[in-house]
Amino acid sequence: MKKPKPDLVPIPPGQDRRVPVIEPGYTFASVTDKIGQIVLTRRTPVFWFFGFGISFLLMMALLASIGMLLFRGVGIWGVNIPIGWGFAIINFVWWIGIGHAGTLISAILLLLRQEWRTSINRFAEAMTLFAVACAGLFPVLHMGRPWLAYWLLPYPNTMALWPQWRSPLVWDVFAVSTYATVSALFWYVGLIPDFATLRDRARRKGFQIVYGMLSLGWRGSAQHWHRYETAYLLLAGLATPLVISVHTVVSFDFTVAITPGWHSTIFPPYFVAGAIYAGFAMVLTLSIPLRKLYGLEDFITLRHLQNMGKIMLATGLIVGYGYMVEAFMGWYSGSPGELYVTLNRMLGPYAKAYWALILCNIVTPQTLWFRKVRSTPWILFLVAMVVNVGMWLERFVIVVTSLHRDFLPSSWGMYHGTFWDWATFIGTIGLFLSLLFLFLRFLPMISIFEMRTLVPEAEVREEP
C-alpha cells in the first residue's frame, strides 16, 4: 500500500505541522546501528567502488594537469592580457562559496538552535573542508611561480620582507586559512564522540586502533560531555563570523581593484549570500542521492530538504537583488566604463553566459516558492544542480567580462578556457568527490550522538 505523502497527512491542530526531522520508530541503538554500520560493514557497496573509481580517475586528471602546469607554466591555461585571471580564480571563488554551507549549518544553525541541522551538519562540514581544499589549490596554482606561494605569508626571512598588507590577496590567505583551520577543528571536535562509538563497536583491530586514537580517550563521562559542549559552542561562536568574513574578503579581491565591474560596494553581502546559496545547492546535490543510496531517508527527511530549499530561495533572492543593483549602479554611477561593462555583460560576446546565469540563478530558483518543488527530491536535485552551474557562471561573468573590456578599448581581448583549464576544474571535482567517498566509507556521515538526541528516548520527561 502506498504511503500517503507526509505533507498531505492531516495534522491535528496544536501539533508541529512540519515533517519530523527523524522518522518515528528509532531508538538510540537503532540510530547507532544504522549510521555505524555504513562505516563498520565489511562489505563496501558496489556503487561506492563505482563512484570512487570515477572520482579517483578525475583526481588523477587533476594531478596530470598540475604536473603539466608546473612543467610548462601557466600559459597552458587560457589566461592572457587583459584577462589575467580565468578559470583558476573562478573555480577558487566557486569552491569557497560551496564551502560556506557546512560551517553555516554547523555553527550558525547551532547557535540558532535549529535542530534540523543535526542530520546534515556532519557531511556538510566534510563537504566544506573538501571544497576549501579544492579552493585552496587554485590561488597557489594560478601563480606564475607557485613554488614561491609562501611569500604571501608573514614569516621572518633574510630578505626582511613582509607581504604587502594592502593587497586583498594577502587578506585572502588569512581568511581562507583561518576558515579552513576552524572548519577542520569544528568538524573534528564534532566527530570525537562518534569516533568513540565506532571504536567501541569496531570488530577489526585496525579500526579499533585508528578510531581509538582519533577519539582522544573519549569515555563519555559527564565531565567529557560538559567540556565538549562548551568547546563546541565556543567553536561555533568562532566560526560564525568566519562564515561572513571569508567570502567578504574574497569579494575584496574584486572590489579593491579599480576595474569596472569589480569596483563595487555591493560585492561583500552579495558574495556571502551567493556563497550560502551555492553551499546549500551543493548540500542538496549531495544529500539527495546519498540518502537514497544509503537508505537514510528516515534521517534526512523531506523536512531537511524543504528547509534547505527555503534557504536557497532566500539567498537566491538576495543574489538576484545583487544583480539588479549592479545593473542599476552601472547606469547610476555615470561612469562610462561601468555602464559599458553592464551593457557588455548583457549584449557583448559573453551575453550567453550572462543570460544563462540569470536563468540558472534567478529564474530557476523561483520554482522553490512551490511546496511541491521543495518536497520532491528529484526536482530539488535538478534545481540545485542548475544553481551549482549558475553560481559557476556568475563567477565566470564577474571575472571574465569585467576584465575583457576595461578602460582602453585597444587592450580588449577574449578569454576561453583551454583543455587544461577544464581538466583542472574537473580534476578538482574528482578530488572533492574522492575525498567525499573516502569520508562516506570511513567516517560516520551523520552525527550519531546528535541524532540520538532526536529520538523520543532522549526526551527528558518529568517524573510522573
Binding site: G73, A257, P336, G337, H404, G413, M414
Partner: protein, 1048 residues
C-alpha cells in the same frame, strides 16, 4: 703547387661532371712508379727480421727486443738506414739536413704566425678617457643599407657583442633617429638560421674551393670578353662595390651588371627621367613646406629617407598656442598607411585612379589643359577636393610640396615634378641631386633582359650578390626555372634561401655588422660601414666575393674599401681622415650638390585603360615590417604589429569594408586572388579607409626557405606579381574558398567607444579654446588624495608624448624590445593575447568607416604616482621609487597577475611561458643587453622608463660630481623616435623639456579621471584642415557589443 692545381682544374674538360659547365678537379697527382732499372736495396724491416729470427730458432718466436737486436742483420739494417739518410746526392750530410729541416719548420711556423693585417675600427666615443673596460659599452658608427640608400647608425657594443642600434645624429638620413629595420638588424645578425657554411650543391666546401671555381669561370669567360657572365645585385649604393663591379666590367666588357630591387623605386627613377630626361634624385624638404600633397606616397614610413622626412614633417606639427606653424597634409591614398593616418585631409582612391587625380590637380594648378584629357567624370566630392587643394597650393607657392608614391606609375612622378616646378617649389621645398645609387638603371628592363638571356642559354656564369631573385622576380619572368639553364650559378646570401638552393654555389653573406663596406645616403653622403664583430659564421661580403674575381682574390674587404677612399680622403693624412670618417660615421664633403634641372611638359596621358568591369584592382606593396621578404626570419619584425592593421606574423589581402560586404568576406576568410592568370590563396583583412574595389597585398611573405620564423608564414604575393603590373594590377578576381586562416592581431578593437582616450581638435577650435583637451574629463586636484605625496626634493622622471608628432612608425616599439631584452613569443601566443611589447602603439578610428580619421597613440607604462598595480601586489614586487618610477622587482614577483588586472592601461606583460628561452638559440643569447635582467617564466614585466639608462647616467653624474643635464638620459623609445614625439626628462627641473611640455595646454593624462596621476602624459592632437573642406574631428564610431575582440 696550389697554382698548378688551379691550372689543371681550369675547366680543361668541361661537361664531364654531372652538371654542365662545372669545373673539374683532377685527382691528386699520383706518386711516380719506382723505376724498375734502379737496383733495389734489400728491404729489411723489423717484421722480416723477426720472422727470420723465428726461423733460425726453429719456429720459436723471439722473446725480447734485445734478442732481436743482438743480430748482425739488425745492426746492418741500422747502418743501412743511417747510410740512406747520408746518401743524399746533393752532398748534404745528416747534420746539415737536420739543420735545414729545423730551419724550414721554423720558417713554416713563422708564416703561420703572421699577424693578421690590422683593421682598425674606431669607436664613437664621447669622452674616451671615461671608458671603463667591461663597464660602459662602446659605440661605433656604421651604416645600414636598404633599398639602395643608407641610414647612419651608432651601434652599442658590449665587450665585443653588438647589442643595440641607434641613429647617428651626424648622418643626414638619420639625425639620431632609427627605424624598425635598423633596430631589428641586430636580431638579423644573431639569427640562428643564418647560413653558416659555404655550400656547393648543398655540400660544405672550403673557401679556396670556391676561389678555384670562380677563377676558373672568370678565366673561361675571358675568351668571350665576358659575354656569358652576368652579375645580379640589389640596388648598389656602395662606391666600393660599384668600383669593383666597374673593374670587373672593364676586364670583361661583354659581361652585364643587372640590379634588381623588388621593392625598388623604379617608378620614381623613371618618373624623374620622364620629367627631366635624366636620372635625378628629388630631395624633398618637408620642414619648409606649409602644404604637402601625397599622391599615394607613404613618405612617413617608407622611401629612401623616411626618417629624415618624418623628422622634417613632424617639426612642423609642433603647435604653439596661436596655432601657427602647422603644416597641412593632403593624402590621396589607396592603401591606408601612416601618411594617410597623419593627413589633415585624406581621399581614398584606387591606386589606378591616382594618375587621373594628379592630372586633374595639375590642370587645376595651371599646368595647361594637357592633364584634363585623361580624366573621366569624377565625383563632385573629388572635384571639390581638387579645387580646394589647388587653391591652397596656389596660396602657398614656393611653400608647398607634392610627392608621389613609389607604387604610382612614372607619369604621376613626372606630374608631381611638373607641379612642384609650376608652384615654384623647386629649390625651395624640393631640390634635385644626382642619385645616390651607383648606377641608376631601368631595373625591370635589365632583369627582363637577363631572364631572356638565361632562357636563350646566353648566360654561362651568373653571380648573384645578395637578393633573392628566385623569390622576388616578377612571376612572368619564371626566373627560377630559367636560372637552371645557367652553367654556373653563384649566390651570396645570408640565408640558404629559395635562390641559394637553385644555385651551385651558396656563399654565406656577412652581415653588415660583420664586414667592411661603404654606402651612400639619399643625398649622396657616404659612410663607411665598419664591422662590430668578426663574422660569426665565416661569412663573406660582396666585396670579398668580387675580389675573388679579380687578380687579388684574397684581398680583404677592409683593404678594398680603403682603396676606394684613399684618393678621396687622400693626401698625407689619409689615416687621420679615415679615422675621422669611421668615428663620425659620415665622410664630409660627399653629399651631392643640388642640380638645376628643368621639368619638361606634362607627359601625354597614357591611353586610358578600360575600367575593368567587376574586376578588382590589386595593389602590391612591400610589407611594412619584413620589407621585400628579406626580414622574414627576423622575429622582432615578424612580431611587430603592422602600423594600422596591427597584424603580426602574416600578410593579408586587405580590402575596404564595402568591398568585403560586396563579396561577403569576413576577416580571416581565405580567398583565391587571381590576376593576370595567376592566383594565390590569401587570408582577408578588412581595413576601413581602403579604396573600394581594390585589394592590397603585401609581398615578402610566403617564403619557402627562410628559416624557423619565416618559412610558411603568410602567402606569396610575388606569385601574382607580373612585370607588366608591378605595383597595380587591374582585373583581379576574388573568390572565397570557404577556408579560414587564423591571423594574429594585437589590437582587435580599434574604436574609442566615445571615451576620451586620444584627444584631438582642429586648429581653429584649439586657438579658440586651448584647454579643449580638459573639457570632458578632469584629473582630481592635487590635494584630493588620502595618500601622502612622493618626495619632491629628488628627480621626478616623466615622459611627454606629443600625439601631433607621432606618426606611428613602430621604431619605438622595436627599440624598446632591443633595449629591454623583450622576448618574441610567436604567432600562437600573439593570438592568445600574450605579446610582450612593453610599448605599444594604439590605433583608433573615428568618423566614417569608408574614410575614417586615424588616431595613433604610443602607450608605455604611465608610471602612475598613485599606481593601482602597486596597491594589489601581495608581495611588494611592484613598488614606487622615490624618483617616481613604478619599479618592477622580478625577483620578488610570484605571478598573481593582479597588478595587470588592476592596471587601467594594460601595459603590463606576463611571462606565461619561459619566453626568454623559447626561441633563444645560443647565438641569440649574445643579443641580450647585459644591463637588463632577462625575465623568466611566471614573472610580470613592463616598461621601466629604461631604468638602466637612468642609473648609468646617475652614476656617471655622481662620479663627475655634477648634475644631470636635461636630455642626457633618454629612453630607448625616445632616442629612436624619428618624429621627436617622445620626450623624457626630469620634472623637478623646471627648465627641462618635459617640464615645459607639461605646461602646454594640450597636455593631458590618459584616464586622468581615475586619479592615477600618470607621469607619462600626452599632448593632444591638433589637426589643420583646410577651412574650405570642413572636416570635423570625430572620434565616434559605431559600437557593436557582439564584435569579438580576440581570436582564440
Amino acid at each position: 703547387m696550389s697554382d698548378g692545381a688551379r691550372e689543371t682544374g681550369n675547366g680543361e674538360k668541361p661537361g664531364t661532371q654531372s652538371r654542365p659547365g662545372l669545373p673539374v678537379y683532377p685527382p691528386p697527382a699520383a706518386m711516380p712508379p719506382p723505376d724498375p732499372l734502379e737496383p733495389q736495396p734489400e728491404v729489411l724491416d723489423f717484421r722480416a727480421l723477426a720472422l727470420r729470427r723465428a726461423d733460425e730458432r726453429g719456429g720459436r718466436p723471439w722473446r725480447s727486443l734485445e734478442e732481436l737486436a743482438n743480430t748482425p742483420e739488425f745492426s746492418a739494417m741500422l747502418h743501412r738506414d743511417e747510410n740512406a739518410v747520408a746518401l743524399d746526392p746533393s752532398g748534404v750530410d745528416r747534420r746539415d739536413l737536420f739543420k735545414y729541416l729545423g730551419a724550414s719548420f721554423a720558417l713554416a711556423g713563422l708564416t703561420a704566425c703572421t699577424r693578421q693585417p690590422t683593421e682598425k675600427i674606431v669607436p664613437y666615443v664621447r669622452q674616451p678617457e671615461e671608458i671603463i673596460p667591461g663597464g660602459h659599452p662602446l659605440t661605433y658608427a656604421t651604416a645600414m643599407t636598404l633599398g639602395g640608400t643608407a641610414t647612419g647608425l651608432l651601434i652599442e657594443s658590449h665587450q665585443g657583442r653588438p647589442t643595440k642600434a641607434e641613429g647617428n645624429p651626424l648622418h643626414p638620413a638619420s639625425l639620431g633617429a632609427s627605424d624598425v629595420f635598423s633596430q631589428a638588424s641586430l636580431y638579423g645578425l644573431y639569427d640562428p638560421d643564418r647560413s653558416q657554411t659555404l655550400l656547393y650543391l648543398e655540400e660544405i666546401r672550403p673557401w679556396p674551393a670556391f676561389l678555384g671555381a670562380i677563377h676558373a669561370a672568370i678565366e673561361a669567360e675571358r675568351a668571350g670578353r665576358g659575354a656569358g657572365l652576368r652579375l645580379l645585385t640589389e640596388t648598389v649604393c656602395s662606391p666600393t662595390l660599384a668600383r669593383q663591379i666597374q673593374e670587373l666590367l672593364k676586364a670583361l666588357p661583354e659581361a652585364k651588371w643587372v640590379q634588381w630591387e623588388p621593392a625598388g623605386r623604379h617608378n620614381a627613377r623613371e618618373g624623374a627621367r620622364l620629367a627631366f630626361g635624366e636620372y635625378v634624385e628629388a630631395i624633398p624638404h618637408f620642414d619648409r613646406a606649409d602644404v604637402i600633397v601625397s599622391l599615394d606616397a607613404d613618405f612617413l614610413s617608407s622611401g629612401p629617407a623616411f626618417l629624415r622626412a618624418t623628422r622634417d614633417f613632424s617639426s612642423r606639427r609642433r603647435v604653439g598656442a596661436d596655432g601657427a606653424g602647422l603644416n597641412r597634409l593632403y593624402a590621396v591614398e589607396s592603401t591606408p598607411a601612416n601618411t594617410g593616418a597623419k593627413a589633415d585631409h585624406r581621399l581614398p582612391l584606387r591606386a589606378g585612379e591616382v594618375e587621373g587625380f594628379a592630372r586633374q590637380l595639375a590642370a587645376a594648378v595651371g599646368l595647361g589643359e594637357a592633364g584634363a584629357a585623361g580624366v573621366g567624370p569624377s565625383a563632385p566630392e573629388r572635384v571639390k577636393f581638387v579645387a580646394a587643394l589647388a587653391e591652397d597650393l596656389a596660396k602657398h607657392r614656393g611653400r608647398s610640396l607634392i610627392v608621389a608614391g613609389d607604387g604610382q606609375p612614372p607619369a604621376v612622378h613626372a606630374l608631381a615634378h611638373a607641379m612642384n616646378a609650376a608652384l615654384g617649389n623647386v629649390g625651395a621645398t624640393v631640390e634635385f641631386a644626382a642619385p645616390p645609387e651607383a648606377q641608376p638603371s631601368d631595373q625591370l628592363a635589365d632583369l627582363s633582359a637577363l631572364a631572356s638571356d638565361m632562357d636563350a642559354g646566353r648566360v654561362r656564369t651568373l653571380l648573384i650578390l645578395g637578393g633573392n631573385p628566385v623569390f622576388t622576380a616578377p612571376a612572368d619572368f619564371r626566373f627560377g626555372e630559367r636560372l637552371q639553364k645557367v652553367g654556373l650559378r653563384i649566390h651570396l646570401s645570408p640565408h640558404v634561401d629559395e635562390t641559394s638552393v637553385a644555385c651551385h654555389w651558396h656563399i654565406p653573406e656577412a652581415h653588415f655588422l660583420e664586414s667592411w663596406s661603404d654606402a651612400r645616403a639619399f643625398d649622396g653622403t657616404a659612410s663607411i660601414v665598419q664591422p662590430l664583430i668578426a663574422p660569426l659564421y665565416g661569412g663573406r661580403s660582396a666585396h670579398e666575393v668580387l675580389a675573388a674575381t679579380s687578380t687579388e682574390p684574397e684581398r680583404s674587404g677592409y683593404d678594398v674599401v680603403r682603396d676606394t677612399w684613399r684618393p678621396f680622403l687622400g693626401g698625407a693624412d689619409f689615416e687621420a681622415a679615415w679615422r675621422r670618417a669611421l668615428h663620425d660615421g659620415v665622410i664630409p664633403g660627399t653629399a651631392s650638390v643640388s642640380k638645376n634641372v628643368t621639368a619638361r611638359a606634362v607627359p601625354a596621358p597614357a591611353p586610358a585603360a578600360p575600367p575593368a568591369s567587376g574586376g578588382l584592382e590589386v595593389i602590391f606593396r612591400p610589407d611594412p615590417m619584413i620589407h621585400d621578404g628579406r626580414f622574414a626570419n627576423n622575429g622582432w619584425l615578424q612580431e611587430l604589429p603592422k602600423p594600422l592593421t596591427k597584424l603580426t606574423w602574416d600578410n593579408a589581402a586587405i580590402v575596404s569594408p564595402a568591398t568585403a560586404g560586396r563579396h561577403s568576406l569576413a576577416k580571416e576568410d581565405v580567398v583565391r586572388l587571381t590576376v593576370g592568370g595567376r592566383s594565390v590563396d590569401a587570408a582577408v583583412w578588412i581595413e576601413p579607409g581602403h579604396a573600394d574595389d581594390s585589394v592590397t597585398v603585401h609581398f615578402g611573405y610566403g617564403r619557402t626557405r627562410a628559416g624557423k620564423f619565416g618559412t610558411g608564414a603568410g602567402f606569396n604575393a610575388y606569385a601574382i606579381r607580373a612585370s607588366g603590373a608591378l605595383w597595380i594590377a587591374a582585373g583581379g578576381q576574388i573568390v572565397k574558398t570557404g577556408a579560414t586562416h587564423p591571423l594574429a592581431c594585437t589590437q582587435m578593437h580599434q574604436n574609442m567607444e566615445g571615451r576620451d582616450i586620444v584627444r584631438a581638435a582642429n586648429v581653429a577650435d584649439f586657438v579658440r579654446d586651448p584647454q579643449f583637451a580638459h573639457r570632458l574629463t578632469k584629473s582630481p586636484e592635487d590635494g584630493e588624495t588620502m595618500y601622502p605625496t612622493y618626495p619632491s626634493d629628488t628627480h621626478a622622471w616623466a615622459m611627454a608624448i606629443d600625439l601631433n608628432q607621432c606618426v606611428g612608425c613602430n621604431a619605438c616599439v622595436v627599440a624598446c624590445q632591443a633595449e629591454n631584452n623583450i622576448p618574441v613569443v610567436g604567432k600562437d601566443q600573439v593570438r592568445r593575447g600574450r605579446e610582450m611589447h612593453w610599448l605599444r602603439i594604439d590605433h583608433y578610428y573615428g568618423g566614417e568607416p569608408a574614410n575614417p580619421q586615424h588616431y595613433l597613440q604610443p602607450v608605455p607604462c604611465m608610471h602612475c604616482e598613485k599606481a593601482p598595480c602597486e596597491l594589489v601586489c601581495p608581495v611588494e614586487a611592484t613598488v614606487h621609487s622615490a624618483e617616481g618610477l613604478n619599479d618592477m622587482v622580478y625577483n620578488r614577483c610570484v605571478g598573481t597577475r593582479y597588478c595587470s588586472n588592476n592596471c587601467p592601461y594594460k601595459v603590463r606583460r606576463f611571462n606565461f611561458y619561459h619566453y626568454s628561452t623559447q626561441f633563444r638559440a645560443p647565438s641569440l643569447q649574445m643579443l641580450t643587453n647585459p644591463d637588463v635582467t632577462v625575465r623568466w617564466r611566471g614573472v610580470m614585466e613592463k616598461c621601466t622608463y629604461c631604468v638602466q639608462r637612468i642609473n648609468r647616467v646617475k652614476i656617471d653624474s655622481e662620479i663627475g660630481n655634477r648634475t644631470i643635464r636635461d636630455g642626457e638620459i633618454t629612453t630607448a623609445c625616445a632616442q629612436a623616435c624619428p618624429a621627436n614625439a617622445i620626450v623624457f626628462g626630469d620634472l623637478s627641473d623646471p627648465a627641462s623639456r618635459v617640464a615645459q611640455m607639461r605646461k602646454d595646454p594640450r597636455t593631458y593624462a590618459l584616464l586622468e579621471e581615475l586619479g592615477t596621476r600618470p607621469r607619462t602624459t600626452y599632448l593632444a592632437q591638433v589637426r589643420n584642415p583646410n577651412p574650405a573642406l570642413p572636416e570635423p574631428v570625430r572620434r565616434d564610431w559605431p559600437t557593436s557589443f557582439r564584435e569579438e575582440t580576440g581570436q582564440l
